[in-house]
């Protein structure tokens, strides 16, 4: 009993456990359909690039992992989630493609402005979106989810305006690079790795990580101890916006277009789920970035597995929604109290017998 508790008490237990569960499902599925049992794990090189389901998950999961970084910080500092990330992704893609193709152009092979200008402008706009959310939350005390709801619905609409209601295609190899391959490794994996590395380095080398947790745990005490709580929350939202921007560029480059209605669709759910699955409380406070990252890839593994099982991308949210509710319900204090009462009763019954 105590051993089990020791294992389940580990901070990374939940995400790793889920990951193993997903892998097990995959193994059984492969066995069931008469394939090699470890089909899931085989990595090979085809056409000069890495190939395999595992690589696919790492590749497709990049955006979620990038979003999860920002989301983790936001959840930790403000005890609320940013539900605008998916829409901000789409807005970033729209602005970037619009600049690259020129306003009103539906499809282009040549770039209207240098690639770097388009990309940076897109990411900058995402940061502005983050700052807008952060201002509402930190300085006007609006509940995080209401504040981000504004952009959740407006950002896509603005994106459509920027693209003149078109799906803008940028068929240019330089632009395709972000969603393509760097040598034989898919670029998104590299980008996600860089984001993770930079953010963890910043958290490790500065006091920011401690500041964020401190503000998230006890805002008043942090203030007395000399922290500027508002500024820290504001900063977290900007970082979240930045990450959404990067993810938007990657997602857009993958399909070399800006499809305002579909880029980043349902990604806010995935990002929040990644944070919850990573063992972080959605009530704020302590966070574990590694957990969120593993959580993100687990989500992607779930998605990929669902697709393999024949669930369409429209239907997948049903299962994810159920997982979110279960995880959050397990974390809920009334549920814990109930479990405690139940086990106490059991212990009493045992003692009586």
């Amino acid at each position: 009993m105590s051993k089990i508790k020791k294992i389940t008490g580990q901070p990374l237990f939940l995400p790793i456990f889920c990951m193993l569960l997903v892998m097990a499902v995959n193994i059984f599925y492969d066995l069931g359909s008469g394939r090699f049992a470890f089909n899931f794990f085989t990595v090979s090189i085809r056409n000069g690039v890495l190939y395999g389901r595992l690589i696919d998950i790492l590749n497709r999961g990049s955006e979620i992992a990038i979003l999860a970084i920002g989301m983790t910080l936001v959840v930790s500092a403000s005890a609320g989630t940013d539900i605008s990330v998916g829409s901000v992704m789409s807005l970033t893609a729209s602005l970037c493609c619009m600049l690259l193709a020129g306003y009103g152009v539906a499809s282009t092979n040549t770039l209207a402005v240098p690639l770097i200008v388009g990309v940076l402008a897109g990411i900058l706009l995402a940061c502005v979106c983050g700052a807008f959310n952060g201002f509402l939350v930190a300085y006007l005390n609006v509940q995080p989810m209401v504040a981000t709801l504004i952009l959740f619905s407006a950002a896509r609409a603005i994106g459509l305006l920027l693209c003149n209601n078109l799906i803008v295609y940028v068929r240019n190899d330089a632009f395709k690079f972000f969603g393509g391959y760097l040598g034989f490794i898919p670029t998104p994996i590299v980008i996600a790795a860089i984001c993770i590395a930079v953010v963890s380095l910043v958290l490790k080398r500065t006091a920011l990580g401690m500041y964020i947790q401190s503000v998230g745990i006890n805002k008043d005490a942090s203030r007395i101890a000399g922290l500027n709580s508002e500024k820290i929350i504001f900063l977290c939202y900007i970082v979240c916006g930045l990450m959404a921007g990067i993810a938007g560029i990657v997602a857009s480059s993958r399909i070399s277009s800006a499809d305002s209605n579909n880029i980043g669709l349902n990604y806010e759910l995935d990002a929040i789920l990644a944070v919850a699955l990573g063992g972080n409380s959605l009530g704020g406070g302590k966070f574990n970035l590694a957990g969120s990252i593993i959580g993100a890839y687990t989500i992607q593994a779930i998605t990929t597995t669902l697709f393999a099982l024949g669930v369409s991308s429209d239907q997948a949210p049903v299962y994810k929604a159920i997982i979110v509710i279960i995880i959050v319900a397990i974390q809920a204090p009334p549920f814990n109290a109930w479990v405690k009462r139940l086990s106490a009763k059991k212990a009493l019954a045992k003692g009586g017998a």
Partner: protein, 506 residues
């Protein structure tokens, strides 16, 4: 005084984990009397009230209520209300967004024949209640339109209208001004005329002498005694609450006070105030001086210290630090001027529960250094270990979460947090609350040691003895106002007289 007894509590005992909160306490309430329940913080007043209203379960003893056969045990506030025991708390427990009439009747609204709410009847009955209590209130207005005092009285009206025999007022006056308190007292006297027994919990001595008939004093969970008001003058009441016999106190004399020159002034506050919390005050603090702030709880001693530190916004008045005028907008400004504040509410404003002891210790120092100059881990460990050693913090390791430590050790960690910043001026608000005697002495020694190093301190404590041992000057506060300073002739007697106010021996 020979009124009928309506409530008796006999031999009430209860324990919180590790602490005997109430030990064999008796309490008697008669019809039509206002009975003050007095005691310092942690004396067991609120625990006794909570046992009565069913929020806490008591272990031994019995409660009898007039008109009910056999002992009474309440399981919830509602339960108590049904038996005629109503409570009005310090913070108004009404809904500000509803009308006065609704607040009076919610949960028991008058109904029409269709089963819908009968607004006309409700307004009519509310107006009658207000008229009976001589209150000028438009009952259709939202509650938030009225002052806190009126809201408090409406809360009382709600309690009274529910057929209560016993009315408990738990510090209802802390947020009211003098005028409002007067109105409240008029209402209390009216209720008394009607035969309601009122239990009045307060920290304001003057108020007790103004309306109460009888006083019960508790100390450390034990009953000190029940006295008719005439038999217990102020100074004796203070002595009873603090556990010192007045005659004994006279014999204790203070040590000689060191002299300070005007050149050594570190903090010079002029007309500093915070609206609604503390009236404008002047205070000079010299280098190496320990200033004690004394007064009963709620007298504004914490607020005074907090204004200097800039802990709450809206500071007004001028503050000079080291001869230079400074404006403090946030705690970080104060910290940059070399200040530190150990707040009295450890849980709400002190500890960061989910962080480790090490992180809690270095937090303020880190905040002072800025986000980009992270203390290297080796340095963090060194600082944490140093203070764990010096202050003898009992913790499994420096990486243990602070919320797992006992209260006293948590307090030491917060103290370490400020010592680590090497402050010139440190405010300690109740640093010894809930700490064992040995540790208390250590902290007192530390305070003297820091003063010896030329640091200035403000020391706030409910225990006068402790302050006498450490402070060279005392500022006395009463009802949110600084009423005086005692520099010479520091003794329990003078301090207690100053706290009690008035003539002292009336």
């Amino acid at each position: 005084m020979d009124n009928k007894v309506i409530l008796t509590m006999r031999g009430i005992s209860m324990t919180f984990p590790g602490v005997k909160a109430l030990d064999n306490v008796d309490f008697t309430l008669r019809q039509g009397e206002i009975h003050a329940l007095m005691g310092e913080n942690g004396a067991g007043k609120s625990t006794l009230i909570k046992c009565l209203t069913g929020i806490n379960a008591f272990e031994a003893g019995e409660i009898r209520v007039d008109g009910i056969d056999g002992p009474v045990v309440n399981h919830s506030t509602l339960d108590a209300q049904k038996k005629g025991i109503s409570t009005v708390y310090q913070e108004v427990n009404l809904c500000p967004n509803l009308s006065v009439a609704e607040n009076l009747f919610i949960g028991r609204e008058p109904k029409t024949k269709l089963g819908t709410i009968d607004w006309r009847e409700m307004t009519k009955r509310s107006e009658k209640i207000m008229k009976d209590l001589d209150m000028q209130v438009d009952v259709t207005q939202n509650l938030e339109e009225y002052s806190l005092a009126l809201q408090q009285m409406i809360a009382i009206a709600r309690a009274v209208d529910m057929d209560c025999k016993v009315l408990i007022l738990d510090e209802p006056t802390s947020s009211l001004d003098d005028n409002e308190v007067m109105k409240l007292f008029t209402l209390m006297r009216q209720l008394k005329e009607k035969g309601v027994g009122i239990i009045f919990v307060t920290h304001f001595l003057e108020q007790v002498y103004e309306v109460c008939d009888r006083i019960t004093v508790l100390r450390n969970g034990k009953l000190v005694g029940e006295y008719p008001i005439a038999d217990l003058p102020r100074v004796k009441l203070v002595a009873a609450m603090m556990g010192k016999d007045f005659d004994d106190l006279a014999s204790i004399k203070s040590e000689e006070t060191p002299k300070f020159s005007d050149e050594d002034i570190l903090i010079d506050a002029q007309g500093l105030s915070h609206k609604g919390k503390i009236k404008p005050f002047d205070l000079k603090i010299h280098k190496g001086e320990v200033v004690g702030l004394t007064g009963l709880l709620g007298s504004g001693r914490s607020e005074l210290a907090r204004v200097i530190y800039g802990a709450d916004k809206n500071q007004t008045g001028t503050l000079q630090v080291n001869g230079k005028e400074e404006k403090i907008n946030a705690p970080i400004d104060a910290m940059k001027l070399g200040m530190g504040l150990l707040p009295d509410d450890r849980k709400a404003e002190g500890i960061i529960g989910d962080l480790s002891v090490r992180e809690n210790i270095i937090l303020a120092l880190q905040a002072k250094r800025g986000v980009f100059r992270l203390l290297p881990m080796s340095k963090q460990v060194e600082i944490a270990d140093k203070y764990i050693d010096i202050l003898q913090i009992k913790t499994a390791s420096r990486e243990t979460l602070i919320k797992q430590l006992s209260g006293g050790n948590q307090q030491k960690v917060i103290l370490a947090r400020w010592l680590a910043t090497d402050p010139d001026f440190l405010i300690l608000d109740e640093p010894t609350r809930g700490i064992d005697v040995g540790t208390k002495t250590e902290i007192q020694k530390l305070v003297l040691q820091l003063a010896g190093e030329g640091k200035s301190l403000i020391f706030i404590s409910s225990e006068i003895e402790e302050m006498l041992r450490t402070c060279s000057k005392m500022a006395v506060l009463r009802d949110g106002e600084k009423v005086g300073e005692i520099v010479e002739d520091l003794s329990q007697e003078t301090v207690m007289k100053a706290i009690a106010g008035g003539d002292g021996n009336e």
